[in-house]
């Protein structure tokens, strides 16, 4: 029974869901009788409401009809207006073409002239962007680009401006002017300094060349100045007040100077040698040190030996003196024993004189071999880059190749002076050895003869 009741209530709720507000507001029935009464009452009121809505619909239908009629009338009006406008457009088009025809007739030969003005302005624009004269007169190129791109006919003042700009470029390219300008230094700062412009060729400050970069329209310091004798001409030139003075000028208007920044310096070449390069430098330095030490020692010994040759007293601070001392100590022995003793003394002296000479020769031989080592490692690097990137771009390979060649150069550069110095040191030591080995006995004999007389 209760479930039936529930389903009836549910059905009523569903039926009333069209008017949820009403359903929610409906007072709850306490029992079946009341529910019946309530349903009856609701049916009456609903019938009333429906009737009322029906009447509303009917009255509104009349309104909508009127609205529709009105909209249709508007559509018709717009359509006719559209036709009118299209006709106007066609009419205007015709007038326009007619007028343009009139204009071309009116412009006549001037059209050609204006075309040339645009062309010249375009040329000047690019020329001014690259010209160092723009460093002194900034903003000229904007006017030219306006003139080159404009669709309007140029006005008389603009034409005069073009003429003026051309004249100015021509006049200024023949002048040497000093003016104050902002220069961006290599450190990234902007410094205002006096700049001298030589025609359309060079910009310089007190002691250096400057370049005008067309990209950011600014004067910049060169990343790398040319060789000292070019730069010193600037300094001399700036020191002069009047008259004619020599100066190196870049005829390419800055291109050659900017190319300098891409040129490899000796230091960079050296860096390209890598570890092998440093080792070769070490070998060279070691060799030079030995050469220096040998030359000092040998010339000291040589000096002492020369002094010994002149004096009669044996001085033990030099090899010859020590050998003579051996003779003096064995004055009374027979000739054969004396010769043996002398030979022994000579054998003791020679290694001291010859020491280090062969090391120089070995170092001189090692240096080119190390260069060869660097060549091979450089070639390995080259072939590695070929396997990675192919042979398409020679620039990729060139890096490894220059490493290979630079080490070869370094090897030769180290070997040449070492070979040369070795021969000098060797000749010196040989001369001393000659004295000690072959002449010492004769010197002793001469002494002995003198004493016996």
């Amino acid at each position: 029974m209760k479930t039936v009741l529930k389903s009836v209530v549910l059905a009523a709720a569903v039926a009333l869901s069209a008017q949820p507000v009403l359903a929610a507001d409906a007072p709850k029935a306490k029992n079946l009788e009341e529910l019946l009464q309530q349903v009856k009452k609701d049916r009456l009121s609903e019938g009333r409401i429906n009737k009322q809505r029906e009447q509303e619909f009917l009255s509104e239908r009349a309104d909508k009809q009127a609205l529709l009629r009105k909209a249709k009338a508007e559509l018709a009006a717009e359509k006719s207006r559209g036709e009118q406008l299209a006709a106007d457009f066609a009419e205007n088009e015709k007038t326009l073409s007619q007028l343009e025809e009139e204009l071309t007739l009116a412009v006549g030969n001037l059209g050609e002239a204006f075309g040339i003005v645009r062309q010249v302005a375009g040329d000047l624009n690019s020329r001014f962007q690259n010209s160092i004269i723009s460093a002194q007169f900034p903003g000229r190129e904007t006017l030219m680009s306006e003139l080159a791109q404009t669709k309007d006919l140029p006005e008389l003042p603009q034409l005069e401006e073009l003429w003026f700009a051309l004249q100015q470029e021509a006049t200024q390219s023949g002048k040497i002017v000093k003016f104050s300008a902002e220069v961006s230094t290599n450190e990234g700062e902007k410094v205002t300094q006096d700049v001298v412009r030589v025609g359309a060729f060079n910009l310089m400050n007190e002691d250096e060349y400057l370049v005008y970069s067309s990209d950011n329209q600014a004067i910049t310091e060169l990343g790398r100045q040319p060789e000292a004798h070019f730069v010193s001409s600037v300094k001399n030139y700036m020191g002069e007040g009047a008259g004619v003075h020599p100066l190196y000028v870049d005829p390419s208007r800055g291109t050659i100077l900017s190319l300098l920044t891409t040129k490899t310096t000796l230091g960079e070449y050296y860096e390209a040698g890598g570890i092998v390069g440093y080792i070769i430098t070490g070998v060279l330095l070691l060799g030079l040190l030995i050469v220096l030490e040998r030359l000092l020692v040998l010339s000291a010994i040589g000096g002492k030996i020369r002094k010994q040759l002149k004096s009669d007293v044996a001085d033990e601070s030099n090899p010859l003196g020590r050998i003579i001392k051996v003779y003096e100590n064995n004055r009374n022995v027979d000739v054969e024993t004396l010769e043996l003793k002398l030979d022994e003394a000579i054998l003791k002296e020679t290694p001291r004189i010859e020491r280090g000479v062969s090391v120089i020769k070995i170092l001189a031989a090692i240096a080119p071999l190390l260069g060869l080592l660097g060549t091979v490692t450089g070639m390995i690097a080259t072939f590695q880059s070929i396997t990675l990137f192919g042979t398409g771009d020679p620039r990729v390979m060139a890096g490894g190749i220059s490493t290979a060649l630079v080490t070869t150069v370094l090897g030769l550069v180290a070997a040449l002076p070492l070979i040369f110095l070795h021969s000098i040191v060797y000749a010196r030591s040989q001369a001393l050895i000659h004295v000690v080995e072959e002449q010492s006995a004769g010197i002793i004999a001469a002494h002995a003869e003198k004493e016996n007389k």
């Binding site: 010769e339 220059s402 150069v409 040449l416 070979i419 040369f420 070795h422 001369a431 004295v435």
Partner: protein, 175 residues
Amino acid sequence: MMLFLMEIWESVRDFMNTGGDVLWLVAGALFIMWSLMIERYWYLSAVFPKEMKRIVGDWDARADTTSWYAHRIREAWISQAQVKLQARMQLIKTLVAICPLMGLLGTVTGMVAVFEVMAQMGTGNPRLMASGISMATIPTMSGMVAALSGVFFSSRLEAKVKVAEHRLIDSMPHH
């Protein structure tokens, strides 16, 4: 005459410019080598005969030429003469040997220049590389020529020195 000399100087300078800096090294080595060789020729032909006459005279003047002392003294004199004869011969030989090495140095620096051009401009324009290539080949050639000019005369010199030594030894008889 002046014009002719100037023309020669111009062509030499052109040659040096195309050959690069290494050529100056070769030229320096060649100059030192030839001045040393000329000095040696002069010594052998003008100075040494007088020297030899003096030594041989001294020897002949000696009463004693047979004792141990006399032999040692003779050896010492010969050795002194040899030192004078052979002075700088080592240097000349080394310079002859160095010349081709300098040429090689020029070859390699020239190739470095070629590869630098290649790295910057690519291989598109062989004309750009030509200056590097002439910097590579001209020093090599000059090094070779310098060495060849030295090899012949330095070996002639050596032979002459040896002959002079032997003549000195032979003209000092010991009994």
